[in-house]
């Protein structure tokens, strides 16, 4: 996963990588990565994720993609869906 994420990934693959990362790192045993739609709200009832899980996602985004989300307020906007997350990573990923 780390290798995948650090290599040059085009946006559709980036989204798949994010789905796999979220399912694996958050131990979502009853969620298949492919069930996550690109615009599904990540936090809330559907996947049962909350603000405590957001801390882990922020950490994993830094570990896998080298992109830092310092502020959880910013994070709230970025972590809405796979689409918003991938847009943010594309914009801020180190060259």
């Amino acid at each position: 996963m780390n290798q995948l994420a650090k290599s040059k990934i085009d946006p559709p693959d980036l989204k798949q990588s994010l789905k796999i990362m979220i399912v694996q790192e958050l131990n979502l045993v009853d969620v298949n990565p492919w069930e996550i739609e690109d615009d599904d709200p990540l936090f809330g009832d559907k996947f049962g994720l909350d603000s405590i899980d957001a801390v882990e996602v922020v950490f994993q985004i830094k570990a896998h993609f080298g992109v830092v989300i310092r502020d959880m307020k910013e994070g709230r906007k970025v972590l809405q869906s796979i689409n918003t997350l991938s847009e943010f990573i594309e914009k801020h990923r180190p060259a």
Binding site: N27, V55, R70, D71, K73
Partner: protein, 341 residues
């Protein structure tokens, strides 16, 4: 105000990490004094640490990473010579009429509100907090134009919802409080460097020398001791609840991340040229590293809360990180105090 007449004062909305610092920064900038959120936070001596097991929030002990709400605004305005005029009301009708009069006069107005009643908050983000600050800067068709620093763009709020929020009941009820900038000193009247220095000195004092075990670097060590004992004393479920509360206070409640440590690092960076003290830039880097250590605490803590932790990610490991944070903060604030002496 005749509702058919739209009013929109040209007001530059900037999103911020925290409502009190964001509103003051935006209001003062509107009056010609460009000042960042970080600078407001630093001059107002916003940074703090306190662990108060006898004060309960949601039935769990209170951990504070910043000074009490309202303190940053009062210290910053006093130190910079900015005058805010405050009003409070008994009657919602009079409070809303007073707001309308200010808007008609072209003056953006800060309001204290109960965030729970602000209908532009998505329902699951609403919470009972009666010290939420926002700026009203226009009105159209019975709705107010609002600059709420928590949001990326200005929002609209129906008059009845804003009235309800301004008169929210409960602890620290806002009682219709509103304020506007009455005076901003010119550059020649203002002692920016003096204000920055005072802001820094007060934080150093609270982090290093407040008596008792609950506050400052001592407070962080006190929390470390408590955290280590939680599993045995409280059991896994209650221990996780206590831990979750700390993580939320640190990373979520308008902190800018790392329990306000990242905002304070930004302040030190800005303060370096103002005080002509390059060492503050180095201290800013150290503060960022400390914020990262607090974030390590949050990440491991979140794994424990969610039963994802590895064997080494334990309450003892958390206590060690806290002790490291305490040592680093004690050293940093001692060096900072020396630098501005």
């Amino acid at each position: 105000m005749n509702d058919s007449t739209a009013i929109e004062i040209p007001f530059h909305h900037r999103q911020s990490a925290h409502c009190e610092t964001g509103v003051l920064s935006n209001l003062v900038s509107h009056h010609g004094l460009e000042i960042s959120e970080a600078m407001v936070f630093g001059i107002g001596s916003g940074l703090f640490f306190g662990y108060f097991p006898f004060v309960r929030l949601n039935k769990l002990p209170l951990t504070a990473y910043r000074i009490a709400t309202g303190g940053i605004m009062s210290r910053t305005t006093k130190r910079l010579g900015i005058r805010l005029e405050w009003q409070k009301f008994r009657s919602p009708g009079k409070a809303m009429a007073a707001l309308d009069r200010m808007l008609e006069a072209g003056v953006p107005v800060g309001c204290r509100t109960g965030a729970y009643w602000l209908s532009y908050f998505p329902p699951r983000y609403r919470f009972h907090f009666n010290m939420h600050n926002l700026v009203a800067f226009g009105k159209n068709n019975g709705s107010y134009r609002i600059s709420d620093p928590v949001f990326p763009d200005p929002v609209d709020c129906p008059a009845e919802d804003l009235a309800k929020a301004r008169f929210a009941k409960g602890s620290m009820a806002p009682k219709g409080r509103m304020y506007h900038v009455a005076h901003v000193p010119g550059a020649d009247e203002m002692d920016l460097a003096g204000a920055v220095r005072k802001g820094i000195k007060e934080v150093c004092r609270s982090m290093l020398r407040v008596p008792g075990p609950f506050i400052g670097a001592k407070g962080i060590r006190y929390l470390a001791k408590k955290v280590e004992n939680w599993p045995a004393k409280l059991g896994d479920r209650r221990a996780a609840l206590h831990l979750g509360q700390i993580i939320r206070m640190q990373e979520e409640i308008g902190t800018g991340g790392g329990g306000f440590r990242f905002i304070y690092a930004a302040f030190l960076q800005e303060a370096a040229p103002i005080l002509a003290l390059p060492v503050l830039s180095e201290l800013s880097d150290r503060m960022t590293e400390i914020g990262d250590r607090w974030r390590d605490f949050a990440v491991i803590g979140s794994r424990i809360c969610k039963a994802r932790a590895s064997e080494s990610e334990s309450y003892s490991a958390l206590a060690e990180i806290l002790r490291d944070c305490a040592d680093r903060e004690a050293a940093l604030f001692a060096d900072l105090e020396d630098a501005v002496r």
